[in-house]
C-alpha cells in the first residue's frame, strides 16, 4: 500500500493582532488594518510543519497550500513554497467577501473537492478571529472525520493515521483512516525556516493579477514557467451555489462594534520607592487583602 500523500494545508493571511500599536485604531474608532502587518497565521505554520514532516517521511508526498483572501494573500502561497510546499491556490473573488466561518468553509470545501487531497491540515484557529470553526466546518462540508488540536502526527501506514491531540486538560491519541481533516494546535512544533533552494526556485512565483500589475517589470521569460504561476480561483472555478458564498452565505451578522474603552476608576499612582511599596503592603494587610 502506498504511503505517498496528497496534502492540502489551509492557511490564512491575518493582521498581526498580537502587536497592535498606537496607530492601529483610526480616529473614527475603526480598526486601521493598514497599520497592522499582514502575517502567516501562526498555527497555520504549525500545520505546514506537520505536512512537511509527512513529506519528509513518505516519499512522493506533495503539499499544496489553499488560502482565501485578497490578491496580496498570494504572499502566503509564496511563503509556503519557500518552506517546502509544492504549490498552492489563491481563492480570490469579490463574491467571497464578507464571509463568516460558514461561508468561508463552504468556499474552501468547494476548492478542496477540486483539489482532491487525501488529507487536509490546518491551524486550529486564526488570530484575527480565534474561532477555531473553519477546520471542523470544512470537515463537515466534505463529510470527512476531523481530528482537532493535533500536536503530532505519529504514524501513517498507508491507511490509518495515528495522531496525538492536545486537550485542555490532557492528551489523547487517536487513530483514523483517511480522508481526514486535521487541525494543529500551537503546542505542535514550529515551522522550519525558508529553504535557500526553494527561495531561489520560487522567488518569482506570482498570480496572473500580480504579473499583469508588474507589467513590463516582470521578466517575460518567466511568464510561461508553469510552476511559477500561482493559480487564482474564483466562484466560477470552484462551482457550487452562489448564494452560499460570501455575505449571502453568512448567517451571522455583526450588529455592533465597540472599541474598548476602559471604565474610568480612581487609581492610586505609586512609584517603586521603598516608602510607596511599604505603604501599599501595609494598606493591603490592614484591610485583610493579604496576610
Amino acid at each position: 500500500m502506498t504511503t505517498s500523500l496528497k496534502i492540502v494545508v489551509l492557511a490564512k493571511q491575518v493582521p498581526d493582532t498580537r502587536n497592535v500599536g498606537k496607530n492601529a485604531m483610526k480616529e473614527d474608532g475603526t480598526v486601521n488594518r493598514a497599520a497592522l502587518p499582514a502575517i502567516f497565521n501562526p498555527e497555520d505554520l504549525n500545520a505546514l510543519e506537520q505536512a512537511l514532516r509527512l513529506k519528509d517521511r513518505y516519499p512522493g508526498t506533495t503539499i499544496h497550500l489553499l488560502t482565501m483572501g485578497p490578491g496580496r494573500a498570494a504572499d502566503i502561497i509564496r511563503e509556503g513554497l519557500f518552506r517546502g510546499a509544492d504549490g498552492g491556490v489563491l481563492l480570490t473573488d469579490r463574491k467571497f467577501a464578507g464571509a463568516d466561518t460558514l461561508a468561508t468553509s463552504y468556499a474552501l470545501a468547494q476548492a478542496l473537492r477540486k483539489l482532491q487531497p487525501h488529507i487536509v491540515i490546518a491551524g486550529r484557529q486564526a488570530i484575527d478571529g480565534d474561532t477555531a470553526q473553519v477546520g471542523p466546518q470544512v470537515a463537515e462540508k466534505l463529510g470527512w472525520p476531523q481530528v482537532t488540536y493535533a500536536e503530532e502526527i505519529i504514524s501513517y501506514d498507508g491507511k490509518e493515521m495515528v495522531i496525538k491531540r492536545r486537550l485542555e486538560r490532557g492528551v489523547e491519541t487517536v487513530s483514523a483512516s483517511l480522508p481526514l481533516v486535521v487541525t494543529v494546535h500551537a503546542s505542535a512544533p514550529g515551522c522550519r525556516p525558508r529553504h535557500a533552494k526553494q527561495l531561489l526556485k520560487y522567488k518569482h512565483a506570482k498570480t496572473l493579477s500580480e504579473i499583469q500589475e508588474a507589467g513590463a517589470d516582470y521578466d517575460t521569460g518567466l511568464k510561461n514557467v508553469d510552476y511559477l504561476r500561482v493559480p487564482e480561483w474564483g466562484v466560477a472555478d470552484v462551482g457550487g451555489e452562489e448564494i452560499q458564498f460570501g455575505l449571502s452565505g453568512s448567517p451571522t451578522k455583526v450588529k455592533k462594534i465597540e472599541n474598548i474603552v476602559f471604565q474610568a476608576k480612581e487609581s492610586k499612582k505609586l512609584t517603586a520607592t521603598d516608602g510607596d511599596i511599604d505603604g501599599l503592603i501595609k494598606e493591603l494587610m490592614a484591610n485583610h487583602t493579604i496576610g
Binding site: P15, T17, R18, V20, M25, V31, L102, S105, D128, D130, T131, A132, Q133, V134, G135, P136, Q137, E140, K141, P145, Q146, V147, T148, Y149, V162, L167, R169, G170, V171, E172, T173, V174, S175, A176, S177, P251, K253, V254, K256, E258, N259, I260, F262, Q263, K265, E266, S267, K269, L270, T271, A272, D274, I277, D278, L280, I281, M285, T289, I290, G291
Partner: protein, 338 residues
C-alpha cells in the same frame, strides 16, 4: 415551543462546570423569552445525572446513554446533537467553549447551516432592525471580543435557527435553583441518529488530568505579561506568589512567548478569574486579558509605562520595573507580617 438547549459536557461521570453555568444563564434568557431550558446529556452510565441538571434549571433533559458515547468523539456526539436539534427545534443552542464544545459546535452549525459565535463573554436578548427596515424581536445578542481583543462585537443570526454560541468556562455564574423543580427526562434513541461509520476515529490512549494549576480558585493571583521579559524573570512572580499564598497567572502574550504554561493563562482564550487581589506585572492590559480578570476585587498593576491601559482599571498603579518592585514587596511583607 422553541426552547433553549444546552449541550452538557460530561467527563468521568461529572457534568462540567461550564455546562452548569450555561444552564444558569439559560434560565435567565428563558425567563426573558418565555420559554424553557432543555439539556442534552450524551455519554455512558448517565443515571443520576438528570437530577443535577434539573437542579440547575433544565426542564427537559434528553439523555443519550450508550457505552460507545463515552469518552467524547466528534462524529457520534455531532450526529445526536444534530438529530435532537432537528426534532426539538430549539431557538438557541449553547455549548461550552472547551476542547469538546469548540470541536463539536462548528460541526453541528455546518450541518444545520446556521450561524455560530465562538467564545462569547456575554449573551443578551434584544431586537434588531436591518438596513432594509425588517425588524426582528428577541434575538440572541452574542457578544465577544474580536480582532485580537481590540473591539467588542455583537453578533446576531437574524434569519437562521438555532442561534448558536460557545461560552468560556467561568465567564457566567453557576447557581443551582433555590428549590428543585421536577423536570422531564426524554431518552434519546441513539440508534436512530448514530451509525457505525461515526466511530471511524478510534481513541487509543487518553490522559485527562484535573487541572493541576488552579488559578480559577485562587484568591490571590500574581500574573505576568510579555513585559516580564523572560521565563527567568517569571520566577520572581512565583517567589511573590509563594510568600502571599497566591497562584501565578499569565497573559496570552506571556504564554505564547513561552514564559508560562497555558494552564496559567488568564483572559478570553484562557481562564476567567475573580480573585480578591490580582497583581498584574508587565501586563499592558489588552481587552482579551482584562476580560478574564476585570471582576477582580482589587487590582495592582506594576508597569514601567504610566500610560499602560491596565492602569485604567488598577486600584493601585505602581509605575516602575517589577524587578525592583517585587523584591521590595516581598521584603516589606516579611517585615510587616512578623
Amino acid at each position: 415551543m422553541n426552547n433553549i438547549l444546552v449541550y452538557c459536557e460530561i467527563e468521568s461521570g461529572r457534568v462540567a462546570d461550564v455546562s452548569l453555568e450555561l444552564l444558569t444563564k439559560g434560565r435567565g434568557l428563558a425567563a426573558q423569552l418565555g420559554c424553557k431550558v432543555e439539556a442534552l446529556a450524551v455519554g455512558s452510565k448517565l443515571s443520576g445525572i438528570e437530577k443535577e441538571l434539573m437542579n440547575y434549571g433544565a426542564h427537559i433533559i434528553h439523555v443519550a446513554d450508550e457505552e460507545r458515547l463515552d469518552p467524547f468523539r466528534t462524529l457520534p456526539h455531532a450526529a445526536i446533537t444534530i438529530g435532537v436539534i432537528k426534532t426539538e427545534q430549539p431557538q438557541i443552542v449553547l455549548f461550552g467553549a472547551t476542547s469538546v464544545g469548540r470541536d463539536l459546535a462548528p460541526r453541528v452549525s455546518s450541518a444545520l447551516k446556521s450561524g455560530l459565535t465562538a467564545d462569547c463573554t456575554s449573551l443578551e436578548i434584544g431586537d434588531h432592525t436591518d438596513t432594509k427596515g425588517n425588524t426582528y424581536t428577541n434575538l440572541l445578542y452574542q457578544i465577544r471580543p474580536a480582532f485580537g481583543g481590540n473591539i467588542i462585537a455583537t453578533i446576531i443570526n437574524p434569519d437562521h435557527r438555532p442561534q448558536m454560541a460557545t461560552v468560556r468556562e467561568g465567564v457566567m455564574k453557576k447557581e443551582p435553583l433555590p428549590a428543585l423543580v421536577q423536570g422531564e427526562v426524554k431518552k434519546v434513541d441513539v440508534g436512530k441518529y448514530v451509525h457505525d461509520a461515526d466511530f471511524a476515529v478510534r481513541i487509543i490512549e487518553r490522559h485527562i488530568e484535573d487541572r493541576k494549576v488552579d488559578i480559577k480558585g485562587a484568591s490571590i493571583i500574581v500574573s505576568g505579561g510579555y513585559g516580564v521579559g523572560s521565563k527567568e524573570n517569571f520566577k520572581q512572580l512565583f517567589d511573590l506568589a509563594a510568600v502571599l499564598g497566591a497562584e501565578v497567572g499569565a497573559s496570552r502574550a506571556a504564554v505564547d512567548a513561552g514564559f508560562a504554561d497555558h494552564a496559567r493563562q488568564v483572559g478570553q482564550t484562557g481562564v476567567t478569574v475573580r480573585p480578591k487581589l490580582y497583581i498584574a506585572c508587565g501586563i499592558s492590559g489588552q481587552i482579551q486579558h482584562t476580560a478574564g480578570m476585570d471582576q477582580s476585587a482589587i487590582v495592582i498593576s506594576i508597569n514601567p509605562d504610566a500610560n499602560a491601559p491596565i492602569n485604567q482599571l488598577a486600584d493601585y498603579a505602581v509605575v516602575g520595573d517589577m524587578n525592583e518592585v517585587i523584591p521590595k514587596m516581598i521584603k516589606s511583607y516579611r517585615e510587616n507580617s512578623k
